[in-house]
Symmetry: C2
Subunit: 339 residues, 2 copies
C-alpha cells in the first residue's frame, strides 16, 4: 500500500479535484493502468470486431470481506461470468465505485488489489471508471459497479429459444457455497467447516465447451441471486417447457448442506458465484460432462435433469425416494445482499 | 404508473426472485423494452463496427429531483455526454440501480420515465441492467450507474496530445448552472430566479463540429465535477502547456452569478451538466464559434482563452481590468454529490 497522508476516504476524494487525483493516482491508476486507462479521458476508445456481449452488475454485498474473496474479486468475477454465460471471452471492463465517507484506506487498497488480480487472471482490462463518495450513513462502505464487454464465440447459439424437450441440464459443481458462507458470517455462526465462497471466473471452461460442442450447447446461466431453482424457473418460463430435476444427482457439499439445515434454508434457492448451469443436447450431454469433470473445479459436475414437454413453465424435483415436488419461483427474500 | 400492490421498494425487490420480476416487468421492461432487453439474458449481444467509445458513471446526486431534471435524465445525459466528449454518437447503454428500501414507487416511476425520455431523445438503447436493494440507512434512496457505448466519428482525432500552443478554447454556453441549482436547493435558498440545471445531451452539436471541422477539433471535455477550472487544469497538465483565460469572455448568467456570490463560491469551480469545452485550432476557432452559436443552447458560446507555451501546467485568468491570477486545482470539496 502506498504511503498516503490520509487513513480513510473523505468527501473531498469524490470532488473531482486534487484529492480525487491523489486517490486515483495512489491506487487505481498504479494498480490497474493500461494504454486506455492511462489516457484518463471521459471514456476509452477501442475496436472490438465480431459479436460483442455487454453485461452490468452493481455489487452491494455485506460483509465486504468473506472467506474465499471480497467485494472486489466478486465484482470482477461476477461480470466476467455474465459475459461467459453469453458465450463470450471477457475483454474490457468499466469500474465504478460508490465509497462511503470513512472507508478505511487499507480496506480500499485490499479490494483494489483483489480487483487487479482477478482482472489479470481473467485477462480483462479496466479501461474506464468513476469514483463517487457519499456521506457517512448514506452508503455502506463500498458499492462497486462493473460493466464488461466480451467477444462472443463465433459458434455460440445460446438462448432460451434454442432449448428443446429432451435436452439435458448440467451443473458445473457443488452449489449453495457462496450464499451460505455470507449468511453464516452475517449470523455470526462459527461452523467447524471449510465453507467458503466459490467466487471464480467461468469463462475458460465455457469457452472450451463452445469450442468442442458448439451448437449442441443451448444455454448457459450462472445461478447467483435466487440460486439454482430460480434459474430453472427462468428456463421453464422463457423456453415454455418443463424442467425435471433429479434430487439424487444434485452435488451438495456437506458443509453447505449443514449450514442450510441449521438456518432452515433450501440450498436450491441459495446464491452461487462460481458455478453454472448448461442446457445441452441429449446426444452430447455425457461428453460435456466429461469435459466439465476434467476442469479443476468441475470434479463434482453432474447431469441433474432434463427439459420436458410436460408441465411447461414449471420445475419439478424428483426426490431420491420417488416423490415429486414443485420448485416455485420464491417471492420472499431469503438472503439479502449476497452480491 | 402501473397499478401495483406495493407503494415502496422492499428488500424482496432485490432478491432475484418473484418480486424482482414484478418490479422489472412493471417498469423497466415496459418502459425501456427493445430487442436486446426483451431477451432478459445475463447480458446483451450485438455488433458495433469501427472505433467504439465506452464510458461509465455512478450517479449519487442529492436531492434526486431538482429544477431542470432528476437523477434519471442526469444519468443518461451524463453518460451520453462522456461519449460525446470522446467524439462518439451514443448507441447502447447499461443501467444499474442501487435502491434503498423504502423508496417511493412513484418517485422510482418518475425517474424511470425520465430515463426513457432521455434515452429516446439521445437515440440510445438500454440493452442490459441490474437492480439491487439495500436496507434502510445503507443507501440514499437511489443510486444509478450508466455505462455507455458509442461509435466514434471516423474523423475524430481527440486527446490532450493533439493540443498545441495557439489553440483556442471555446465554451458552449453559460456555466455554473447545475451546481448552483443543486446547492441552492440543498441550502434551502429560494432565489427569485430561473436557475435550473443545464442537464442535456451534447452529442449532436459535438458531432456537427467533427463533421465540419474534423481534425481542427483537438479536445472535448464537459466540465462536470470541479467545473471549468478543473478541466482547464487537466488540459494544462496533460498537454504540458499553459492555459490563458479571458475573464471578460466568460458567459456567466446573472442567476448563477448571484447564487455564487450569496454562497461565497467561485463559479469557475462549480459543476455543469450541459456545456462543454472544446480546444480547436486558431484558424477554425471563429467558424466553430459560429456553428455553436447556431445551436439552440449555444447562443452564449464564446472563445474564452488560448493555449500557451508559457507557464506549462498552469491556468492563468486575465481579469477584465488587466490583473492576472492563477486558477489552481482545488483540493477541498466545494459541492459534494452534485452528480
Amino acid at each position: 500500500m502506498p504511503d498516503l497522508n490520509f487513513d480513510t476516504i473523505s468527501m473531498a476524494h469524490g470532488s473531482g479535484g486534487k484529492m480525487t487525483e491523489i486517490l486515483l493516482k495512489s491506487g487505481v491508476f498504479s494498480l490497474l493502468g493500461n494504454e486506455w486507462l492511462d489516457q484518463r479521458g471521459d471514456g476509452a476508445v477501442f475496436s472490438l470486431p465480431g459479436r460483442i456481449a455487454m453485461s452490468t452488475d452493481s455489487f452491494v454485498i455485506s460483509p465486504i470481506f468473506f472467506p474465499g474473496g471480497n467485494i472486489g474479486d466478486l465484482a470482477v468475477n461476477g461480470t466476467v461470468n455474465d459475459l461467459a454465460m453469453c458465450g463470450a471471452l471477457p475483454r474490457f471492463m468499466s469500474l465504478s465505485f460508490i465509497l462511503e465517507e470513512g472507508l478505511d484506506m487499507k480496506e480500499f487498497w485490499n479490494i483494489l488489489s483483489s480487483i487487479r488480480n482477478a482482472c489479470a487472471y481473467a485477462n480483462v482490462q479496466v479501461i474506464t471508471g468513476d469514483t463517487k463518495v457519499v456521506e457517512r450513513g448514506k452508503g455502506d462502505r463500498i458499492f462497486i459497479n462493473t460493466t464488461g464487454l466480451g467477444q462472443v464465440h463465433p459458434a455460440a447459439k445460446l438462448g432460451a429459444s434454442f432449448i428443446k424437450p429432451g435436452d439435458r441440464i448440467l451443473i458445473s459443481g457443488p452449489f449453495a457455497r457462496h450464499g451460505m458462507t455470507i449468511m453464516s458470517l452475517r449470523q455470526g455462526l462459527e461452523f467447524d467447516s471449510n465453507l467458503e465462497s466459490d467466487t471464480r471466473p467461468l469463462h475458460l471452461v465455457c469457452h472450451s465447451l463452445l469450442e468442442q460442442f458448439s451448437e449442441s450447447i443451448h444455454f448457459f446461466r450462472d445461478p447467483t441471486r435466487g440460486g439454482v431453482a430460480s434459474v430453472l424457473n427462468e428456463i421453464a418460463t422463457q423456453a415454455n417447457c418443463g424442467v425435471q430435476l433429479q434430487e439424487r444427482e444434485l452435488p451438495l457439499d456437506e458443509d453447505a448442506a449443514g449450514a442450510c439445515e441449521m438456518l432452515g434454508l433450501d440450498p436450491l434457492y441459495v446464491a452461487n458465484e462460481g458455478i453454472f448451469l448448461a442446457v445441452v443436447s441429449s446426444k452430447k450431454a455425457e461428453a460435456c460432462l466429461e469435459l466439465l469433470r476434467g476442469w479443476e473445479h468441475g470434479k463434482k459436475a453432474a447431469i441433474i435433469g432434463e427439459i420436458t414437454s410436460e408441465h411447461p413453465g414449471s420445475v419439478v424435483l424428483q426426490s431420491a425416494f420417488g416423490g415429486r415436488r414443485l420448485l416455485p419461483l420464491l417471492s420472499v427474500e431469503q438472503l439479502p445482499r449476497i452480491c
